[in-house]
């Protein structure tokens, strides 16, 4: 079956419950866009789908994907794909809008992803800590971050089992090109569950407080293709620099200045190559496993490539 035919078939199936769509008609519309107007097939499919949505007076959420497939969370890398997930509800957050019934974080052994459940979809409530099979959810993307939306066609089935949740781990190899402010010896708010970093002895939430010392590094590791922001917590910082929190405090006390710690660390790590592995949180990678990189791999293969170009 040709590509266009396959897509035509999918679209036809999506609408077959709602309106009477002729598959030849679908295929012709796709072919016109793809062959005559040189529209990429994804865009063509979107456009044709929209045409039928309008004709049928439906919303995008009303139609099913036809052939949603079982997927792992880590595999979600395209918006508007219809998939089935088996996932645990890790956290529920407070919805910021009345249109949203529930919002939170789902996890499976391969990673975590945000989910949104619309109020108008009228679905049963998900509970934190429970594991569900979620059929027919649709993927979405915002600024490079993926999420899934539960919609009126989604089938929710609670499973009587537990699921181990994995992290989205990243591995980066590159040069540490910058250390950002807020690195080195810092003070955190001592209030319970706060831990905000103090600015000039003040917590954004609790005002002036007696802070507790901590060590951390916010750095940029750059491989020449992407610049990644990496956070080293106290343990990772101690391991990376060989400087303990106690030693850092003594250093700051001797100098009557905490910035000396950051200066020392900066000198030690900026301009050096590292391999860093760890989970991703938003735009940050949390350094779990850090290795300083030595000499290069054998350049012979590159040389052969260069000579043959």
């Amino acid at each position: 079956m040709s590509d266009v035919r396959q897509h035509a078939d999918d679209i036809h199936e999506q609408f077959s419950d709602h309106i009477d769509v002729d598959i030849e008609d679908v295929e012709e519309r796709l072919t016109t866009l793809v062959d005559e107007y040189k529209v990429p097939i994804d865009e063509a499919r979107r456009s044709v789908t929209n045409h039928y949505l309008e004709e049928a007076g439906l919303e995008r959420d009303d139609i099913s994907g036809g052939d949603s497939e079982a997927a792992n969370i880590e595999d979600v890398d395209e918006p508007e794909e219809w998939i089935d997930l088996t996932a645990k509800v890790i956290e529920l957050w407070d919805p910021r809008s009345d249109a949203v019934a529930q919002v939170g974080l789902l996890g499976d052994p391969t990673g975590t992803i945000k989910f949104t459940k619309w109020a108008k979809s009228d679905l049963p409530a998900l509970e934190e800590g429970s594991v569900y099979e979620l059929r027919n959810v649709v993927t979405d993307e915002y600024q490079g971050r993926y999420s899934v939306k539960l919609n009126s066609t989604t089938v929710i089935e609670e499973l009587d089992e537990d699921l181990e949740v994995g992290n989205d781990t990243s591995e980066i190899e590159g040069a540490l090109v910058d250390m950002q402010s807020g690195s080195g010896l810092i003070k955190r708010c001592p209030e319970e569950d706060c831990t905000r970093v103090l600015q000039n002895g003040r917590c954004n939430e609790h005002g002036e407080v007696e802070g507790e010392f901590d060590l951390r590094i916010k750095a940029v590791v750059d491989d020449g293709i992407d610049a990644h922001e990496v956070i080293f917590d106290k343990d990772a910082t101690e391991e990376l620099t060989g400087l303990s929190l106690e030693e850092a405090k003594e250093m700051a006390m001797d100098a009557l200045d905490t910035t000396i710690v950051a200066d020392e660390i900066r000198e030690d790590i900026v301009g050096t190559y590292y391999r860093i592995e760890g989970p991703t949180f938003g735009r940050y990678v949390l350094a779990d496993d850090v290795e300083e990189l030595g000499g290069p791999a054998d350049p012979e293969e590159l040389l052969i490539k260069a000579r043959s170009m």
């Binding site: 040069a175 090109v177 910058d178 940029v220 750059d222 020449g224 293709i225 992407d226 610049a227 922001e229 900066r266 000198e267 900026v270 301009g271 050096t272 190559y273 735009r283 990189l293 030595g294 000499g295 290069p296 791999a297 054998d298 350049p299 012979e300 590159l302 040389l303 490539k305 260069a306 000579r307 170009m309």
Partner: protein, 213 residues
Amino acid sequence: MSQAELTREVARRVFASEFNDSTYAFKESDDERAPNYALLPTGDRANRVFVAGTLTETEDVGDESEYWRGRVVDPTGTFFVYAGQYQPEAASVLRETEPPAYVSIVGKPRTYETDDGTINVSLRPESISVVDDETRDRWVVETAERTLDRIEAFEAWESEQEAPESASTAPTNEYAQMAHEQYDSPVVNYRNDVIQALESLETVEKDDAEATV
């Protein structure tokens, strides 16, 4: 959180020979605060670079205040690094480091026109670090790889220009197009520099022809 933080500019890997040929500077928008880019002749833009090499000379060339110039040599040529009062940390490294020493530098390309009208490219450091030979060698191999990637993309674009009727899958490459319009030197030069750079690493056997001499 500022917009600048969200879109931090990647530090390109580029050898000195190509860096010094990157004389065309441009902005992507009319906004005063829009970032400056140097156009790399192999077809990419660079607002920031990461380089490594041997610091061979340092000199305070300033009149009233300190203004340090460092020469940093890689297998293909020399980077000219300038640091003054606005780069105090980098300036102090240039002041205090005894050449020769391996260094790595994160910095921004800057162009300036000399009295005779030639355009020179220099490097304004954000940071300079003294490193070991392994870091320097790793940079040479990494930079060779990134440069070959750019050349490959450039050549894919070039062959598309020659045979526009064939349904090519080569992605559009606006910086290759720009480099083609702005520069005369053929991209093959940079491929030769890559070969030269890789051959300069001790672990690599010389070309057969050279080995038998």
